[in-house]
């Protein structure tokens, strides 16, 4: 902190050291890039973890919060804010410093209308073209169509007889300079015209509906012969606006929505949100509750890895020994264990502020131990099987290689990053709950290819089993819920909380204004980062390997779009 202050006198307007892992600073917008460069080059902040926009309508300001951390050099998270006036919001883009700032800034632009100077491709990411210019995340957004004026979509009958409903673009407003000229996402035809240079090239669609994709997203591949020359990715087909919905619900009701961001990781999403609110409220859950939360988080990691790996192997056509079915059979046991605790199979809504919803059922440990033992045997079996399968190894080895440097630069996290020889795990970097008391190792691989990613996942299952067994041995008796005020109304403030999702770094940033509802919730999901890294990863690959590469990332579109 003091290093920044001495290096840039006058540039730091405000600062707060929350703990030895969190540093909040507000800096002068004009010097943002300089300071960030200083942090990146001199202070090892080499991981751009995300950015959030906040609309401070009462102060007539927009805030952009840049979240910077380091890949293991130290464990400080810097949340750097810049404040810009609301009428002409513009911030310097950080895309020149961090490659992966691209999508985060695009999202802030389309949601808040904050311009990013120097951003290479400011066109909508999640929203449809016609919604641009309404800036839906702003606090004075009236709804679409505008609920206050009752403006409705206009019915248009096309030449082919289909009726379409359209909101007419405000041409006058664009002319008057109120709304920007809307940069459009290129249509397929336009893209073909722009990109195809020779006869041997063509554009191939994968998605929005395709067997390989875990949810709807569009992957356009410009291919020359068998090689992918360039890949274009478009997401936003299932944008649900969860962040905005959560602003309109009380803190407690928000937990329900975190489940629905990604159903395979609902416990960890709960955990991230509740953790952030707990920081705002200044409470810590009792120890027993912490153990229960760890047990559930690890169980959910196991089931997510099983499903992810199994699904991926099916995509590769591993039908002889049908690993998918086996993994589903095993996953069923784990899901049953989770169901016996929480009462639901996938959307748990289980973690509460300062505790958990209910205690472990009687005899849980006795029931869990044999299942975990069996699970361990089975996982070792899978590892042996995959390792000794020459077809599988040939298909996977050396495919989609991410070198450690690239992996860090592209901002991926979780198993793909660890498969690229970077031991970056939130359970170590930003320890929460009782993780510091538990013994586990961070699984890494050197190779960085698709095979390594699957290996990391399978080995993490073993680690998770080890963690759960320790928890079952150590779990103390005691209360499971901290005393809470009748109405949950945190003091005005903000908190950022990270957990290790099955897929990587999941961070939730919550701003409170002292009312019953959160002022702003921003979700920084791991899959968002993978997806962004996918196009450069696919370049130069064979079409047949696209499935292997995309699948080995274990993506979940629902969380990308939120």
């Amino acid at each position: 902190m003091s290093a920044i202050q001495s290096a840039f006198p006058g540039a730091v307007l405000e600062s707060r050291v929350e703990s030895d892992r969190r540093l909040w600073i507000t800096v002068d917008p004009k010097r943002l890039v300089e300071i960030t460069q200083f942090l990146r080059d001199k202070k090892d902040f080499d991981h751009y973890s995300g950015a959030a926009g906040v609309d401070r309508i009462n102060e007539n300001l927009f805030e952009v919060v840049e979240i910077l951390t380091s890949h293991g050099a130290h464990q400080v998270v810097v949340l750097m804010k810049v404040k810009v006036p609301r009428d002409k919001p513009s911030v310097r883009s950080l895309t020149g410093l961090y490659w992966n700032a691209n999508w985060y800034e695009r999202e802030i632009w389309e949601m808040f209308g904050i311009n990013f100077e120097g951003h290479p491709e400011l066109y909508p990411l999640l929203l449809p073209d016609e919604l641009v210019g309404y800036w839906p995340w702003r606090k004075d957004f009236k709804g679409y169509p505008d609920t206050t004026t009752g403006e409705r979509a206009i019915e248009q009958v096309g030449p082919d007889g289909y009726t379409e409903f359209k909101i007419m673009p405000h041409t006058e407003l664009i002319k008057a300079g109120v709304l920007p000229e809307r940069p459009k996402y290129p249509t397929f035809r336009e893209r073909e015209e722009a990109e195809i240079k020779s006869d041997s090239e063509m554009i191939m669609h994968m998605g929005p509906q395709h067997a390989i994709v875990p949810g709807p997203f569009l992957l356009d591949l410009l291919i020359e012969g068998e090689r992918v020359k360039k890949a274009f990715l478009d997401v936003g087909y299932i944008h649900k606006g969860i962040e905005k919905i959560m602003e309109n619900r009380t803190y407690l009701q928000g937990i329900v929505y975190t489940d629905r961001m990604c159903y395979l990781a609902s416990i960890t999403n709960n955990e991230a949100y509740c953790g952030a609110v707990e920081r705002l409220l200044g409470i810590t859950p009792p120890e027993r509750a912490q153990y229960i939360r760890v047990i559930l988080a690890e169980l959910s990691r196991i089931q997510s890895h099983l499903l992810g790996t199994g699904e991926f192997l099916t995509l590769l056509g591993a039908a002889t020994y049908s690993p998918f079915q086996y993994m589903i059979i095993d996953r069923e046991d784990i899901v049953y264990l989770m169901e016996s605790i929480t009462g639901a199979r996938i959307t748990h809504t289980f973690v509460r502020f300062g505790g958990v919803r209910n205690d472990l059922p009687d005899g849980f440990a006795d029931k869990a131990r044999p299942i975990l033992k069996r699970m361990r045997e089975r996982t070792e079996e899978y590892m042996d099987l995959l390792h000794s399968d020459p077809i599988y190894t040939r298909r996977m080895r050396g495919i989609g290689v991410l070198s450690p440097g690239d992996a860090r630069r592209l901002g991926v996290s979780g198993p793909p990053l660890r498969a690229s020889d970077t031991p970056y795990d939130m359970r170590r970097e930003d320890p929460i709950l009782v993780y510091p008391d538990l013994d586990f190792k961070v699984v890494t691989r050197k190779a960085g290819d698709a095979e390594a990613r699957v290996e990391v996942r399978l080995e993490e299952i073993l680690e998770s089993i080890h963690i759960i067994e320790q928890c079952l041995d150590q779990i103390p008796d005691g209360p499971i819920q901290e005393k809470l005020p009748k109405k949950i109304k945190p003091e005005p403030g903000e908190a950022y909380y990270r957990v290790e999702d099955p897929r990587g770094e999941m961070g939730i940033y919550v701003v409170s204004d002292g009312s019953e509802k959160p002022y702003r919730v921003k979700v920084r999901g791991p899959v968002y980062a993978y997806m962004q890294a996918l196009p450069p990863l696919l370049e130069g690959a064979y079409v047949a390997d696209v499935v292997a590469i995309a699948g080995s990332m274990d993506a979940c579109t629902s969380e990308v779009d939120r």
Partner: protein, 180 residues
């Protein structure tokens, strides 16, 4: 290699017990705290509406229903749940002050139309009063209400008398039903 995978296949086939469920003939065994369709104990529900307020999807509506306890639930309002919107999150269950709303093990909901899966209190109530009991309770409630009214009237009279006695005190309002 192929032999090896086949070995595992065989091993699994021989050792793993049955995997396919016989649903719908045999329902799988559900754990004790399964979050299925709600169960309402209409005899204890006090009609406070907490469940309706906490529901994140506003699927609970308070509707009139006959077979409840008029002593506790004066307006005879009970929750009706729209399963077209319910996410089975269980917040309503946590919030209920008298723990009369629970979630059971039944999970099957089907209907031809949307309104078929809006379950009124009669469909989610697992405990309710019979017609006769309700009548008795109602009589009891009436009697109590009357008593209360009398008591209130008496109290009001007393107060009025007091107020008259102490004229220097400003208007004493009769406090209806306050002490009853």
């Amino acid at each position: 290699m192929v032999l090896k995978s086949l070995k595992y296949t065989l091993k699994t086939a021989l050792t793993t017990t049955e995997v396919t469920r016989l649903y719908p003939e045999v329902m799988m065994e559900l754990p004790a705290n399964e979050r299925g369709i709600h169960e309402l104990d209409a005899t204890t529900c006090i009609g406070c509406g907490s469940c309706a307020r906490i529901c994140p999807n506003s699927c609970i509506e308070m509707v009139p229903y006959k077979y409840g306890n008029p002593l506790k639930n004066r307006k005879m309002q009970f929750p009706q749940i729209d399963y077209g919107r319910c996410t089975f999150c269980g917040l309503c269950v946590d919030e209920c002050p008298v723990s009369c709303l629970k979630m059971g093990k039944k999970t099957e909901i089907a209907g031809w139309e949307r309104k078929d899966i809006v379950y009124g209190p009669d469909r989610i109530a697992v405990k309710k009063f019979s017609e006769k009991e309700v009548a008795e309770l109602e009589a009891e409630a009436k009697r109590q209400a009357e008593e209360k009214k009398k008591a209130a009237a008496a109290a009001a009279k007393e107060k009025a008398a007091k107020a008259k006695g102490k004229e220097n005190k400003a208007k004493a309002k009769p406090d209806e039903g306050g002490e009853a």
